[in-house]
């Protein structure tokens, strides 16, 4: 990535959009913003940005809906989810829809710009909290698997488990380490760290849906009786 990535901001809160635009605008070109799913589709189609900063919660569907409707059509566009929500089911849902990462809205401008560059470069961005969710979800799977030897529905064990190295990387991220620090601590290159995180992202997106949703229900994070 030689040129700075072009960014579109999608969020239904006008004040927040203006704030991010002002903060991020100093470092990266912000080529458009949108306050609803429909607006977002139009802006993304018109601008073909490198990265879309996507609010998880919006009226009429939110981030998941935007990715679902424009993700395949604009395959070069990458999505980074931005949310005030801590709820695992929101985060997991938007990642599974195709977002390349998740950060909370309290993130500093410099960190956000860094995350955008990383996503534009094809890497995944995990906040400490997301790393914690993933460790928790896959730990639960491992426990359930060893406890009653029940095969997951997908039958693809590789996708339902993290390698020891991936776990180690995720644990460092959950502890608040930057990628560079993770690399230093584990004695591997930053590129390798990025590869591990991307692999975890892929597993998160592709692994047996059954297991992950069961985990969310077990933790009472998903309401079974919807609105």
């Amino acid at each position: 990535m030689s040129a700075a990535p072009r960014v579109v901001i999608v969020d239904d809160h006008h004040l927040f959009r203006a704030g991010v635009r002002a903060e991020l605008g100093e470092e990266l070109p912000v080529v458009g913003d949108a306050g609803s799913v429909e607006e977002a589709l139009a802006v993304i189609r018109e601008q073909q940005p490198d990265v879309v900063l996507l609010d998880v919660h919006m009226p009429d569907g939110g981030g998941v809906e935007v990715i679902a409707r424009v993700g395949e059509e604009c395959a070069s566009v990458r999505f980074l989810a931005l949310s005030v929500s801590d709820a695992a089911e929101d985060v997991i849902a938007v990642i599974r829809a195709g977002a390349r990462g998740y950060v909370t809205k309290t993130i500093s401008a410099a960190e956000l710009a860094d995350a955008v560059r990383r996503v534009a470069g094809g890497d995944a961005v995990f906040s400490p909290r997301l790393a914690g969710f993933v460790l928790d979800a896959f730990a639960q799977d491992a426990l359930a698997g060893s406890a009653n030897d029940e095969q997951p529905v997908s039958g693809d064990r590789d996708l339902d488990q993290l390698t020891p190295r991936e776990r180690e990387v995720l644990r460092h991220i959950a502890r608040g380490y930057m990628y560079k620090e993770v690399a230093q601590s584990l004695g591997i290159s930053v590129k390798t760290v990025e590869a591990h995180v991307s692999a975890v992202l892929r597993k998160l997106q592709l692994s047996s849906r059954h297991e992950l949703s069961r985990w969310a229900v077990q933790r009472r994070l998903v309401s079974l009786d919807g609105p």
Partner: protein
């Protein structure tokens, strides 16, 4: 009739034992056990009387069915005993009735022959009424009974209702047959069906509307309650904080702290997390400690936990040590934020507290800095855990706490 009338007569004498069905001690529905407890006699006596009455034209069966329908279940036995499904109950009643009549018939006895449609009808009524009687004995039970009568029968109630209605219809037809329309039972059934259909056509829409408007009203009332609760919560928490923030607008640190505190409160309220003061779990204790340190020193602390477990044995110590580590980070590191990560596994607990502050040389902790040495390292060692400090000047600090959890608590 002795057993049927006895409860009313005994009311004053044994006012302290209310008449309740004891499912946990009964054979069928706990009626005899309940009556026996109320009258302070042996269950066997009540059962024998019941069986004797059952042979008199099935009278006992009707009495039993009615009692089953109308006497509430004793609250403490409700979940103890069996909880038969609707079909099983219906089948049991019908089988019992059929058995009694078959027995009476084959014995060639015709005592109380004219009584059996009544018995059947009462059994049907019992089936229809049964689900509407609330199992508790509080004052709300009557109101709930009325509401239950009017609400649409749930899927679980349907078989019982159908069986009951069939029994009642059959009994009515038989009664018509007995009182004069001999040789035309078919016609009698038709008459009942036609009358029922006419009544249904005439009154049906009205009943439907009544039920619907009642449920609308109820939904509106619930909405109103929820709104009032939400308003009360927002007023107590969010509005208060916003007022405070306006007052202290000149102090950014204070404002950020207030906002953060409110955010945490609102979040836990939205996610309906249990009050952290209640649950004695490791994760909850760490979160509470982080919140307290954050409030005292106004440095945001991100808490990420994986897994959880009860807070027992030496785990109090690891929480205390983590708290001390967070306090140190918040007080001395001048870091913008502190990260706490805890992993609770069945056999070990690990906690990491990391800041990106000034850092220090762990080999040269001044002797007067008792915090790290006493409160963290020594404390962990006392409880058979260990603590490690990773820090370098200018690169922040990470404190690692590990505690193995043995088989003993």
């Amino acid at each position: 009739m002795a057993s049927a009338q006895a409860p009313a007569g005994q009311t004053r004498a044994h006012a302290r034992v209310p008449l309740r069905r004891r499912i946990d001690r009964g054979l069928l529905g706990g009626v005899c056990a309940g009556v026996a407890e109320r009258m302070r006699v042996e269950v066997l006596v009540v059962r024998v009387i019941m069986v004797m009455m059952a042979t008199v034209g099935g009278l006992g069966v009707a009495v039993y069915a009615l009692a089953w329908a109308l006497i509430p279940v004793a609250p403490d036995s409700e979940h103890v005993g069996r909880r038969p499904g609707a079909w099983r109950e219906a089948a049991l009643i019908v089988l019992a009735v059929a058995a009694v009549f078959a027995g009476v018939h084959f014995a060639g006895s015709h005592i109380g022959e004219g009584l059996w449609p009544l018995v059947l009808g009462v059994c049907g009524m019992a089936l229809v009424w049964r689900p509407t009687v609330a199992p508790d004995g509080t004052g709300a039970s009557r109101r709930r009974t009325m509401r239950a009568l009017l609400r649409r029968p749930s899927a679980l109630d349907a078989p019982r209702l159908i069986a009951g209605a069939l029994l009642v219809a059959f009994a009515s037809a038989a009664l018509l047959h007995a009182i004069g329309v001999q040789h035309s039972l078919g016609k009698a059934i038709w008459a009942v069906a036609i009358i029922a259909a006419v009544l249904g056509l005439v009154a049906g829409p009205w009943v439907l509307r009544l039920g619907r408007s009642l449920s609308f009203e109820r939904a509106a009332r619930i909405r109103e309650q929820e709104r009032a609760e939400l308003a009360a919560h927002l007023h107590d928490s969010v509005l208060q904080t916003l007022a405070l923030i306006q007052k202290r607008a000149g102090d950014p640190r204070e404002v950020a702290g207030l906002a953060r505190q409110q955010e945490r409160e609102l979040r836990s309220w939205l996610l309906e997390r249990p009050d952290p003061g209640e649950g004695a779990s490791v994760a909850a204790a760490l979160e509470r400690a982080a919140a307290e340190v954050e409030e005292l020193h106004r440095v945001p602390i991100e808490v990420v936990t994986v897994g959880d477990g009860p807070l027992n044995g030496g785990l109090e110590a690891i929480v205390q040590a983590a708290r001390e580590a967070m306090t140190n980070a918040a007080k001395f590191a001048s870091s913008e934020r502190v990260d706490l990560y805890a992993e609770v596994e069945p056999d070990r607990v690990e906690v990491f507290v990391r800041d990106r502050g000034v850092g220090f040389d762990p080999g040269a902790i001044p002797a007067d800095r008792r915090g790290v040495r006493d409160s963290i390292i020594a404390r962990m060692e006392r409880h058979h855990g260990r603590a490690a400090v990773h820090s370098r000047p200018g690169e922040g600090t990470e404190i690692e706490l590990v505690m193995e959890r043995g088989p003993s608590p």
